[in-house]
Point group: C3
Chain length 348, copies 3
């Protein structure tokens, strides 16, 4: 059961150009397109004439034209042209979805259109600050439910086992013994993790030079149902990392993690990397992106295997451990949202 009354990332804004883009979101087959005025539309990917997917069509004056018999639909889903006839029946239409372009994302509302409040879309100003936060983005298809990907981001002890050679480093104890503080918030939760006086991981060392041991932090905010905003970094020991003021010469990155359900057991992982160092060197941006891409490919492999296993065995006989604290809080938030939607649905 999906949480439908929420904003999800449908695509990166630059994914939707002259060609229609097909994407299944929360189980609904959609087509995204950009009309001649540059406005993005999100429609049911099924012509109301003979059921042909609209992704085979093309953008024409007035909207998206079906590639089979030529019907044209505008961004509201209304049919505005049927070749060979002047009268257009009222029921000739397809479902449309509210969609908003913001901070390089296309945010879509999959629930009741009347409840789509754009003020509730999270802000990510770093995507608009290319000078201070040069960045790069992509999307991964993940053969696992989005909850398992959010789980992954809520328990960072996995860095010691999954990401030994990339963002984790080979000393498991650094991660296992990290000091972590979890703070519930109205929109989700916040956590801050400190790993003091430790060796920097391979990805950090490739990016900047350290004198020796570093003080390292990971600050995460989970915004329900499926966005995670991350700020991580490290400074030489004694440089005042814990004040988080003077960061010149240190390592600092911002990662955006947006998970959008495709089906109950698959999702899209929209992520970007912003480097807060060597901002005038494009190769630093490329290098960070490449490193993170490797690390997230490691996550993808283990989480897809986890999904395949759980799809067969279910969640029986599983045991929580101490490092699950943030994960459990996150899951309870999702359960409350789902229960809320179910209650509204059953009273209606």
């Amino acid at each position: 059961m999906f949480i439908r009354n929420a904003w999800y990332i449908a695509a990166w804004a630059d994914e939707v150009g002259p060609q229609p883009l097909a994407r299944t979101i929360l189980g609904d087959a959609l087509v995204l397109f950009r009309d001649h005025e540059g406005r993005v539309g999100a429609l049911e990917d099924r012509c109301c004439h003979r059921g042909t997917p609209l992704r085979f069509g093309e953008v024409v004056e007035g909207g998206l034209q079906c590639g089979y018999h030529g019907l044209v639909f505008d961004g509201s889903g209304a049919c505005v042209s049927i070749p060979g006839q002047t009268k257009i029946p009222a029921k000739a239409c397809v479902r449309s979805y509210p969609i908003v372009e913001k901070d390089e994302f296309l945010w879509i509302w999959m629930g009741e259109a009347s409840e789509a409040d754009t003020s509730k879309i999270l802000d990510y100003p770093f995507h608009n600050d290319h000078a201070k936060w040069p960045h790069k983005h992509t999307v991964y298809h993940i053969a696992a439910g989005y909850e398992l990907m959010v789980d992954n981001l809520m328990d960072l002890t996995h860095l010691a086992y999954v990401h030994k050679s990339t963002i984790g480093g080979s000393n498991a104890k650094i991660h296992v013994n990290a000091q972590m503080k979890v703070t519930p918030k109205d929109t989700g939760l916040h956590y801050l993790r400190w790993m003091l006086d430790c060796d920097a991981p391979p990805t950090y060392k490739k990016a900047v030079s350290f004198k020796g041991h570093v003080d390292r932090w990971q600050e995460f905010e989970f915004i329900a149902p499926s966005s995670v905003v991350q700020w991580s970094g490290a400074l030489d020991v004694g440089r005042g990392a814990q004040d988080r003021r003077d960061q010149d010469g240190g390592f600092s990155l911002r990662l955006f993690h947006g998970l959008t359900p495709e089906t109950e057991s698959s999702c899209f992982y929209f992520w970007s990397t912003c480097n807060g160092y060597r901002q005038d060197e494009p190769e630093a941006t490329e290098q960070l992106f490449a490193e993170i891409a490797n690390a997230f490919t490691e996550d993808k492999a283990i989480v897809e295997a986890q999904q395949a296993s759980l799809s067969v065995t279910g969640e029986d006989r599983l045991v929580d451990i101490v490092s699950d604290a943030a994960r459990i809080h996150m899951r309870r938030t999702l359960q409350r949202m789902q229960a809320g939607e179910s209650a509204v649905a059953s009273s209606a």
Copy 2:
């Protein structure tokens, strides 16, 4: 639910030689073979001993021999030899199907064998007239129900969108505004479409030379449940196309379209091209075949996408348009045939 009491094309006659050919028709797994006397047999593709598919066997004296333990079956499905024993139990047999070779086709009857009346098989004499109608044929596997492929042939407005660069041409209005006359027939329906004083499409221009605009016709006959016979052509304006007498120097082709259900959502598309021009130039025959092959690959792509969509969503909320006239008539004919078979089945 299939219409079983009907003749379908099982294969092109030249597909069945010394090697057995496996093909699923109306959901039944069959094996076709040609015995030492040249007669074609159609059997259930499952040995009655241990269920092994007979397609792994070989043709021997007396019939088709199973490739596992050597049982031999003749064209009637009777077992005529069991290695190592002289007595053959009466129940040692497989189901056989009436099959007839005619006009380069192998026509098969999938219903009650006692009702298989070969006089009801349609005539296609053009396949026997190599001088006037040189031709070439093939078969496409289509991941869509046969009805969707017949639909495709009943609404030619799709030429403007699906076949822009091949048999359609880029001027959508020519197709949308074509004059079309539909005539019901006992065996199905007939329609004739005229596109007068228009530009010839790319495929036509590659085949012959025109002075300028042409008068263009498309004559189709649908013979239920799944054959469509087409005669299309074009003459220079003023050459008397509408009389359809003097066609020297014009463009004229005959296409045979035979759809045979494989499963509820897949079929075989047997088609041939006959060129009524430049009959003594083999390259003209090859060129026409290649052009049509391209066009039908375009149909295959869009119809398979349509099937994939309808398999998920069903036919709810679909809206008929004006150009659906012949399609709707054709579908009603199929529904009557299905209803007739159901009535017989339930009274039995």
Copy 3:
């Protein structure tokens, strides 16, 4: 329904080294590993923390460590370490299976652990006699139920049709007219087949030189539920093959066939070849293995096609023939074992 209270081959002993090996047996997803002391363990392939397959883990001091969050399990399935916490909950464990290394095999018990009696594991001393019986082994994945593979070994008339060019030879009558004696045993059945004064098949002729016709035997023992031990050979006519004493210069091989169910419709085929001739020539061992590999690839193809057919049509309307005698006896043995397990299960 599987027979669970039995020993099956889980793997060849040399398949399980430092890397965990995942394998599904009788429908259970397992991971096999060898600990630092060289002991083999067989565990449920699912961490009790978050369900991640343990095959992504690595062997560490104490057992197998999950590759996601670092829990460690010993060969009994007990969790012996959870990173970041000292207390280990009692329910933190995974299912383990009795597993025994013997004669180059790893034998596993999939039923009630308390009934796992290692004295009931069959002996195959030839694997320990490298001088007299040099050998080589492998495992094939078969997309067919194990019963169909045992069927295959119980009716050797198939050699005339499936293995014409390898171990069978092209004269079908030799196989069809072979003298065969079937003897029931407590643990299964034994059969001996004689083909006297006949031509040797291609595989035999490649291995050794014959003067002319040979006397050829095939001795098989089926040990329920799914092991078949074979001794086959041939001597020049008149060399006393039937006494089975003087075999110098003749052809003699031992094959081990072990079938282990993966699912109801797939299995693993563990097999080895031992050559009882030219024992000091490694190329003789390689050549025999390669010949048998070809022949078993032929069996795999036909049996997988048979399974695909039976999965759709079931076993209705099948007819037994004379050569099915041993096969039918074998199937009855399996049915008795299954019935026995069902009776115990329903009384419990």
